[in-house]
Symmetry: C2
Subunit: 298 residues, 2 copies
DNA sequence: CCGATGCATATCGTAAATATATTGAGATAT
DNA sequence: ATATCTCAATATATTTACGATATGCATCGG
């Protein structure tokens, strides 16, 4: 059996007339009669009653007609859906981000813009640490992720630097440092007790901050380590010390924490990077990257 | 596009290997490659990524695969269902009967037997008067019906006499006639006030009863006409007169009504007849008639 | 009774699917 | 690094079968 048989059957059933059906199908009556007969023979079922004036569905033919209509319509839908997926207009995209990155308004706007442009792509959002995100990417659990860390050297992962933002000082209200609003020189921070966040799996940012202090000629006084940025900020709010965070996190306005720009040369900056498997040619992904990039450049 | 393309696509997707798929399909690799390529070309979508070692579904191909599996399975089911309908093992059957006929246990047993033998045929049951049932048959609202009336002369309807049963006397309790249980000679009834049921659309039974009385040399004293048998019996229960009904109705044991056999020559008998369109070749119907006949002959 | 209608049958040409033979790209092994 | 192997792609040949043309046959309407 071939789709041809089903398509022919459908038209003949609708017309109740082989000759008229053959005209609708841009063919002649004899081959159409033969195809219908071949279909009946293959099914072992008489689908039509031959009347002196045309043909008529039998009970079996009528039930078959219902199903054939559904099948042919289903096929059309399947084809349309497949084409939309191929154009990147539908499908799935597993997206990851770190808690610090999602605080940046540009990231939220970019995701929103993609959702608007490709509403039929179902986005699967995951929040995790940078190195776990990269692992998930490797394991095909994610298609793309926003991270902070620099993962130079990880071969099968492509990375696109999106935004660089300076880190700012976060200090508890009440401290002399929190009395002013303007930029604070790095030497004023150097003597403060420092809370830092160290993710066991991703120590790069931690190391970079220490290296940066040392490059400025200061030895940071690390009095506490926190597993995550938000934990560190909570410790700051509790008056345990100061910390440095990407500027976009300052927008969160955690109660009891005061933020100030830092003056240093070179300035300490943190990037937001988009990472994805190099091997993945999914158009949904390419459209996502394109949308994010054009959104960031605005 | 033809089913062939879908079937080939399905196997290649499952094997991830065109050569192995071609073996499963009992064909050679080059034509299979060509057919897959033709499918991709028609859809305008790349369904497979060609790897050095076999092929792999793209995202679009994976969504298409899901739908193709559903479609092919649906087609198989549709074919199986159509064949079951053609064999009379599935489908619909609109069945009608009169209120007096359904009282006969053999009719209920026959319907039950058919239900058991062909559980996938959905029965649509309708109760109505004999002539309305025949009209419904003509109008294709019914496929088959149990009736009382003789519809000799109605050309496109085929009738099969199933059971003949004598009519019995139904008289109110308290009447001298109700004092005994044995058969009563017709002359004892002749003088009684008679309640008869006359359906405007089907006067045949009514006429036959009058003719039967007259053939015995008696003039029936009709004091009341009722539209239906059960109405007539209720009038009898109310002491309004006596009536005659098919024997099977006596089993209903209406309160206040006493039943007695009637002695007469020739005896008055009422048949239960199965009627259906002569033109209707539905196998479900033929199986129904066959089942009813074999059930009645037991 | 005869023409018209409409499905079925017969025969033929051509398009398309499959088979055979070979090439070529990429991976594995020596 | 070269050879070999794997497996899809290409080229050409063959066969199948779809569709077209011509015709037959049954039924209905005038």
């Amino acid at each position: 059996m071939e789709l041809r048989h089903l398509r022919y059957f459908q038209v003949v059933a609708e017309e109740g007339h082989i000759t008229r059906a053959s005209e609708r199908l841009s063919m002649r009556q004899p081959p159409l009669s033969l195809q219908i007969k071949a279909l009946e023979r293959e099914l072992g079922v008489q689908l039509f009653r031959r009347l002196p004036r045309g043909v008529e569905l039998t009970d079996a033919g009528a039930t078959f007609y219902t199903d054939v209509c559904a099948l042919l319509a289903g096929l059309d839908q399947a084809v349309a859906k497949t084409q939309r997926v191929a154009r990147g207009e539908a499908g799935h995209l597993a997206l990851g981000f770190t808690s610090s990155v999602i605080a940046h308004p540009a990231v939220k706007l970019a995701i929103k813009a993609y959702r608007a442009a490709y509403p039929d792509v179902t986005l699967n959002l995951t929040e995790d640490g940078s190195s776990d995100l990269v692992d998930a990417l490797d394991a095909y659990r994610l298609d793309v992720a926003f991270i902070r860390s620099d993962i130079r050297g990880h071969a099968p992962i492509r990375q696109i630097k999106l935004i660089e933002e300076p880190v700012v000082l976060a200090c508890p209200e009440g401290l002399p440092l929190a009395a002013e609003d303007g930029p604070v020189p790095i030497e004023d921070i150097a003597g403060q007790p420092l809370v830092l966040y160290r993710r066991t799996a991703g120590p790069k940012l931690y190391d970079r901050i220490i290296a940066w202090f040392e490059a400025q000629g200061f030895e940071p006084q690390i009095i506490q380590e926190a597993p995550r940025v938000d934990t560190a900020l909570n410790l700051v709010a509790a008056g345990m010390g100061v910390t440095v965070v990407p500027r976009s996190l300052a927008a969160a306005h955690l109660e009891g924490v005061h933020y100030r720009e830092i003056v240093a040369d070179p300035p300490m900056v943190e990037a937001i990077t988009l990472v994805a498997r190099k091997s993945d040619p999914s158009l949904a992904l390419r459209n996502f990257i394109k949308t994010v990039q054009s959104q960031m450049s605005v």
